[in-house]
Symmetry: C2
Subunit: 284 residues, 2 copies
C-alpha cells in the first residue's frame, strides 16, 4: 500500500508559515486583502469560494466577495475590475471562471493588474510561468502540486515526470514549473497513442485529465509518485479523482487521495499568493 | 541514408506564397515594412540581419535597419521602440538579442507593441504561444521547425516527439506548438538522466541544445524524423548542428542538414510574420 501524500498536512504546514507572515504584516499596520469576483451563481464556484473565505479568515487575510448579476454587461464588469485595480486596500483579485458568455475572458485578462492577479489570468503572469521568471503568480492548482512535492521532499530533478492533460489551468503551466525544477517532462493527452505505455514509464505521474478513475493499475510504474489533480464524481455520486485509487494505491510508492489531496492545498496557495502580492505592493 | 528535409526548398515554397500576398497588398497601395533594431555590432547579428534584409527585399518587404550606439542608455532605447510603435508605416519590429548590459530585456519586452512584435519578445505573444491562441507571433526558429514539418507532410499528431533543450527561444515554445498539433511531447535537457534512452524513443526528435554534434547514432530510433536546430562550429571551424549528421543520417528516416535546414527557413518566417502583422494592422 502506497504512502499517502496528505494535502491537509501540506496545507496545515503552509498555513502556519502564512499566519506568521500575516502577524508580521499586522505589526506594520498592514492587513492583506483579497477580492473574489463572481458573476452569477454556480454551485461549484460557491463551494470553492466558501473554502477560500474560510482559509483566508483562518490566516488573517481580509476577504471580500463581489457577487455580480449574471447578466452584467462586459463594460460594467471591466469597470469593477478597474476599481479593484485602483483600490490600494485590495492586494489580490480572483475572478471566478468560467465567466458568462457576454463577458470575454480574452478582454478581461488584459484588464486585471498583473501584480494583483493571484490566479494567473494575465498574459504577463502566464508568460512568467513559461519562462520561469520570478515575481509572478502561477495558477493555484499546479502551484499546489509543486507544494505537495516540496513538502514531502520529492525532488523532480532528472526524474521522468509525466502529466496527463494539457489544459491552461493545470497541464501546460505544470509542465513549465516542473521543467524549471529540472524534471524531464512528458505531456500526454487524448491524442496520445498507447497512453498506458507512456504513463507506466513515469517516476512521477500527474493525472490532470478531468476523467473519473481513468488511471488504472497497469498505467503506473511500481513505486511511482502519483499526484491526482482530478475532481470528479463517480457513478454513486461520490467525489473521486482521475486515478482509480483502490487499484493504483496497490502499486504506487506515494499517492494523493481525492478528496484530501491537491484540492485541500489550493485555497492555502491562494492565500499565499495574496500575502506575496501584499508584500510586493508594500515594498517588503 | 535518410531523406533530406531541405530548408531551402521549404523557404522557396513559402517565399512564392508570400510574394503573391505582397503583390495583393501592393495593389491596395500597402507595402509591408520591418524595422530591425540593433545596439552595437555583433558578427552573428550582422550575418542574421544581412540574411533577413536580403529575404525581405526578394519578397517585396521594406526593411530598415536601425543601428544604435553600443553605449546607448535604456531610456533612449525605449524612446526608439516607442517611436517605432507609433509609426504607422512600420508593421513589424525585430530587436536583436542579446542586448548590451545597460538595457534590460525585462523592461523592453513590455514596451514593444505586441501587434508589431514579430519575433515574440512581448509577454502577450509568449502567453499566446503557451495557450495556443491564434493571432500572435511565435518565435521565428520554432515556427521554422513547424513549417518544415508541414511542408513535408509530417503530422506530429499522437507521435512521440522529443525536444532536447528548454530555452525560451526554441525548446519551450516549440513544446507548446507541438502540443497544439497533438504531439505527445517530451522535453529533455542537461539534467535529464539517460538522455540516449529518452531520445531513442522519439518518432520525431528535435535537437535544440546548442552543443555541436551531441546527438549520436545510438540516440536515434531507426526511421525517426530528426530536426536539427543547432548552429555551431566544429573543431575545423566548419558550421555544424547539434546532430552528428554523418552518423545519424545512417539511421534516421528523414533529417535536416546544417547548414541548409532550419536556419534556411527562419528569415522567411520573419517575412511571413511581417506580412501577417501588416494585414492585421490594415484590417485585412
Amino acid at each position: 500500500m502506497a504512502t499517502l501524500l496528505k494535502g491537509k498536512e501540506v496545507a496545515e504546514s503552509l498555513k502556519q508559515k502564512l499566519k506568521e507572515e500575516v502577524e508580521m504584516l499586522c505589526q506594520k499596520g498592514i492587513t492583506p486583502s483579497l477580492s473574489i469576483v463572481i458573476v452569477g451563481d454556480r454551485a461549484d464556484s460557491a463551494a470553492y469560494i466558501k473554502g477560500a473565505v474560510k482559509r483566508c479568515s483562518e490566516i488573517g487575510i481580509e476577504c471580500n466577495v463581489r457577487e455580480l448579476p449574471k447578466d452584467l454587461v462586459q463594460d460594467k464588469f471591466v469597470d469593477v475590475i478597474r476599481q479593484l485595480n485602483d483600490d490600494e486596500k485590495v492586494n489580490g483579485i480572483m475572478i471566478m471562471r468560467p465567466l458568462p458568455g457576454q463577458i470575454s475572458e480574452n478582454v478581461v485578462k488584459y484588464e486585471i493588474f498583473p501584480a494583483k492577479d493571484v490566479d494567473c489570468m494575465s498574459p504577463v503572469n502566464i508568460s512568467k510561468v513559461m519562462s520561469g521568471e520570478e515575481g509572478g503568480f502561477a495558477p493555484c492548482t499546479p502551484s499546489a502540486v509543486m507544494e505537495i512535492l516540496h513538502h514531502y521532499g520529492i525532488d523532480p530533478k532528472g526524474k521522468r515526470t509525466t502529466i496527463i492533460g494539457r489544459s491552461m489551468v493545470v497541464g501546460r503551466p505544470l509542465a513549465m514549473m516542473l521543467l524549471k525544477e529540472n524534471a524531464t517532462i512528458t505531456v500526454c493527452h487524448t491524442k496520445t497513442l498507447n497512453l498506458a505505455e507512456e504513463s507506466r514509464r513515469a517516476e512521477i505521474l500527474i493525472a490532470a485529465a478531468g476523467k473519473a478513475k481513468m488511471v488504472k493499475r497497469n498505467m503506473v510504474k511500481e513505486g511511482a509518485v502519483v499526484i491526482d489533480v482530478g475532481i470528479n464524481f463517480d457513478e454513486n455520486g461520490r467525489m473521486c479523482g482521475d486515478v482509480d485509487f483502490d487499484e493504483v494505491s496497490q502499486v504506487a510508492g506515494m499517492i494523493t487521495p481525492v478528496p484530501g489531496g491537491v484540492g485541500a492545498v489550493t485555497s492555502t496557495i491562494l492565500a499565499k499568493h495574496v500575502i506575496d502580492a501584499c508584500k510586493i505592493q508594500n515594498g517588503l
